[in-house]
């Protein structure tokens, strides 16, 4: 058995000692541990304390007990003895804490916190040892009591905390929340910019957490004390503090400054949680701050958003975005305003441009127009990326606004085709030879920028038609800048709109290559068979369905000079591809004539009509208009324009009305004389013709789409069918419902689809 400890006032009682003796010994030890642990406790002392507690619990001797709950007769000793020790421990804690209570009463604020923190440290450290000292009690008596459902019994350490809470903590708090108030005041000092002892605050706050007790499971942490005594008042004061601060700050400062302030405050509060609060508080604290600092002032921020945009205050915008993105409904008004802003900027840019041009929208330079639109897009797209972190909602607003002003602005008026037309013309300029504005690397960039706007164009089919027309001109006249750039553009369009969209364009290139080969082959063959080929001939055979070209509507008598070549090629082609029909597009052909009648040999570059007229003068020196009409079979209207050009160039002279003479004194500074100017009527007709072609195409696009949908679905109701058509076509153009209905009418008539018997609005595919 253990021997009595050396420096103890009480000798170690024997195993059979009664409660009074035992407790006297234990109390002295407990008190030592609780109050002057710093002086140390020897191992043997500790062992003897442990042994005494153990012995007492295990002694089987019946003992008078005050514990009413332990009446069962089959209890072991520990059960009966346990309650005695337990009750004495309670009494000890109460006495011990009474002392602290008395000492703390005179303390305030920081002094109180320091005292509390120091005592807390000492108390919890001590209680930890005591807890281990009474391990046996914990393990048997306490456990059994708790297992049997007695609520008020805790392991010794927990008991110490419970006692601290009810005998000390609640006492201090009962005086106007003296403890929490002291913390809150310290925090306020810190918010006001003073330095405080954060460690102290942390210690006290942590004690609040430790005092929480979950009665149903004592091992589980509970924040009820923390929440009730600290968090709730803390959140209240926070709200009050920032409400007051934000209002007075805004009264004296600009919104820009406020944004900075609010941002800073929010960061500070988050740091505060990190530093000395329980992480549980973060969410509520942050949302409280967001409410007071942001939501309460969101109206004001929304109001000042426009001026930040107007003055390009990127940083402020960034801040406003960051702040408002923290509250769920914060960004929507910004997105709406931003959309409106971009739209206005776009419209203003175009209006300015139109206003500058003397003749307004009609004479608009495609490049200037495209550049103006692009500039608005570029600037605002940067704003989205820089200030709004490329957030999807703002991207959508930007896109929506761009779609609006790209398709409808001062230049377009009510026409939905002006924008695609100008954009296609711009692309044409870029891709033409002699384009000064595009160096090679720059060209690719410029084409990419075209695609930026292309994305917003609603009537992509109009663009397609204009583009096709322009491309065909580039190819026929050989003025395309480079095949590489052309195919790069086509692949971009293909990527944006799919294979179908660029199919025709690609076919046009195929035709060009084939034609080159065909010309070479024909030339070789002719050189073998004929030696009278004094005409240099090249041909392009272009598929009717892929090229937006129209055959001349009037007659044309092939001049006898070229008739043999014409016949030979026609025959050659027939033998090569029997059954194919060649339509000669004289209106797109061009010629070079070498003069022999002048001292100086000139090369006249002409259209076929000009050529036909001029060749007449191989046999005549003077001809009347009627004679020319008979000879060439060109309509009078066009012939007159041809003649006007020729007389203007002084190749022909007209001294009497309707009488044209060859000018024997023709002179030119250049050897190569270009007479092939476009005829006015042709230029003007182009735009309207394109629109007619587009409208016609749309009918078929809609019909084809309906047939395709119906083929897949077999039967479909009217309304879903219309919706489906719209959704499938809208990436090319926005189909109008009456047009779709007309297409349905047509398909019903052609019996591609039928109405299902007995229903009015259900259609079925007719196989």
């Amino acid at each position: 058995m253990a021997s009595p400890a050396g420096n103890s006032a009480h000798p170690m009682p024997p195993a059979t000692a009664d409660l009074t003796t035992t407790w006297a010994f234990l109390e002295e030890g407990v008190d030592h541990i609780m109050t002057k642990l710093q002086t140390g406790v020897s191992y043997s002392k500790y062992m003897s304390l442990y042994t005494v507690a153990y012995n007492y619990c295990t002694s089987s001797r019946m003992h008078g007990t005050t514990d009413a709950g332990s009446g069962a007769s089959n209890r072991t000793g520990a059960n009966l003895m346990g309650s005695d020790l337990y009750n004495n421990l309670i009494r000890y804690f109460i006495t011990h804490l009474k002392l602290l209570k008395d000492q703390s009463d005179s303390l305030q604020d920081e002094a109180l916190l320091r005292y509390y923190a120091a005592e807390w440290d000492r108390y919890t450290t001590g209680a930890n040892y005591i807890n281990r000292l009474f391990t046996y009690l914990n393990r048997h008596w306490v456990k059994r009591e708790r297992d049997e459902g007695r609520k008020g019994v805790y392991p010794v350490y927990t008991l110490a905390l419970v006692q601290w809470k009810s005998n000390f903590f609640l006492h201090v708090q009962s005086k106007h929340q003296k403890l929490a108030g002291a913390i809150l005041r310290l925090i306020e000092h810190q918010r006001n910019g003073d330095t405080i002892d954060q460690g102290l605050v942390k210690k006290v706050v942590d004690s609040f957490v430790s005092l929480g007790l979950d009665e149903t499971d004592i091992n589980k942490a509970s924040l009820d004390v923390y929440k009730e005594h600290f968090e709730t008042p803390f959140l209240e004061t926070t709200e009050k503090y920032y409400k007051q601060e934000s209002e007075s700050f805004l009264a004296e400062n600009s919104v820009s400054d406020y944004l900075k302030k609010a941002e800073e405050r929010l960061r500070e509060e988050e740091d505060r949680v990190e530093r000395y609060l329980n992480t549980e508080t973060r969410k509520m604290l942050v949302s409280k701050c967001e409410h007071v600092l942001i939501r309460e002032h969101s109206e004001l921020m929304w109001e000042s958003f426009q001026s930040l945009l107007d003055y390009d205050k990127d940083e402020d915008l960034q801040r406003m975005y960051a702040l408002l993105s923290r509250i769920p409904e914060g960004l929507d008004p910004l997105r709406k305003r931003f959309e409106e802003h971009v739209k206005k900027a776009g419209l203003a840019a175009v209006s300015k441009l139109v206003g500058q041009g003397a003749e307004g929208a009609d004479s608009l330079e495609p490049k200037a127009y495209v550049d103006a639109l692009l500039e608005v897009h570029r600037k605002n797209s940067e704003t989205v990326n820089r200030s709004f972190r490329g957030e999807a909602g703002f991207v959508a607003s930007l896109d929506k606004a761009c779609r609006e002003f790209v398709n409808r602005n001062a230049a377009t008026g009510t026409s939905s085709t002006k924008s695609p037309e100008l954009l296609a013309k711009h692309a044409d300029m870029l891709l033409r030879k002699n384009n000064k504005m595009a160096e090679d690397e720059d060209l690719e960039g410029a084409l990419n920028r075209v695609m930026v706007l292309f994305k917003y164009i609603e009537d992509k089919d109009v663009f397609q038609t204009f583009y096709t027309t322009k491309l065909s001109k580039r190819l026929i006249h050989g003025v395309s800048a480079s095949d590489e750039a052309e195919s790069s553009m086509i692949s971009k369009l293909k990527e944006a709109c799919g294979f179908e969209y660029t199919n025709k364009l690609a076919r046009m290139f195929t035709d060009m290559t084939l034609s080159k080969d065909l010309t070479d082959q024909f030339r070789d063959r002719m050189q073998q068979n004929h030696d009278d080929m004094d005409i240099n001939f090249s041909i392009m055979v272009l598929g009717t369905n892929f090229w937006p070209l129209n055959a001349p509507t009037h007659g044309f008598t092939i001049p006898q000079e070229i008739a043999p070549t014409y016949d030979r090629f026609s025959k050659y082609y027939q033998t090569k591809h029997s059954g194919r029909k060649l339509t000669w597009l004289w209106n797109y052909s061009k010629n070079e004539l070498h003069t022999n009648y002048l001292n100086q040999k000139y090369i006249l570059m002409t259209s076929s009509y000009q050529m036909a007229v001029l060749l007449q003068y191989n046999r005549h020196d003077t001809l009347s208009l009627d004679e020319l009409i008979t000879a060439t079979a060109i309509s009078k209207e066009i012939l007159l324009q041809v003649l006007t050009l020729l007389t203007k160039a002084k190749v022909l002279v007209s001294e009497e009305a309707d009488q044209y003479d060859l000018n024997p004194g023709f002179r030119s500074k250049k050897i190569r004389v270009n007479l092939n100017q476009p005829i006015k009527a042709e230029v003007k007709a182009e735009s309207t013709e394109v629109m007619k072609a587009v409208d016609e195409d749309r009918k078929y696009v809609i019909q084809a789409r309906i047939v395709r949908i119906m083929k897949a679905r077999k039967t479909m109701k009217n309304q879903p069918l219309i919706q489906e058509v719209i959704s499938q076509i809208s990436h090319i153009f926005a189909p109008k419902i009456p047009d779709i209905k007309k297409a349905i009418d047509t398909l019903l008539e052609k019996e591609y689809i039928e109405r299902v018997d007995g229903t009015r609005d259900t259609f079925a595919y007719v196989a």
């Binding site: 309304q719 209905k741 009418d745 609005d761």
Partner: protein, 187 residues
Amino acid sequence: MGKIKQDEWTEGTSALQISSLPVLGHALRDLENLLVRDAEPIKTASNAAPSKKRTSATAGAAQKDPYNRSRYFGYAEDKNAAFSELYQFCFVLAKPPQSRNIEMETAIAFWSVLLAPSFSIVSEMIEFLNAKSSYKAANKDLWSMMLEFCRTVDPSLDNYEADGAWPTVLDDFVAWKKAGGSQAQAS
């Protein structure tokens, strides 16, 4: 206009037991009164039990049918179905054999005979179609849907559904009428 072949004619008239023009006229008037003018069916003794064989004449002259009315009584049992049959037959009758459609002029004439007596809206429809010269022909769908329209849509157009699957001509008509019809055009 439609052609009726000789054997079709003989087959039809013999089934009806019609051998003179006045009797034919009588039969047609009966049919028109029944289906187009929506008159009460003629009552005869045999009405209660119409039989296919009604050749024996009964005593009273008034009881005697001038022609074989068995089909007539068949029609009288379901006038709607009978009218639909007549109406659809008329499209085929009016249609040139190679064409899918009938000319609008012809269609209007038919409608004024077939539909106008029973459906008040048809006269306005005809007015509309005459005013808009852009409609050149009526296809089968428009023909069928016209009857459907007359039967289901209220003359006030209150129950007309704009997003229904009506042919565009009918949509246009409704838009025209709602815009004030002929009055608006005149002013």
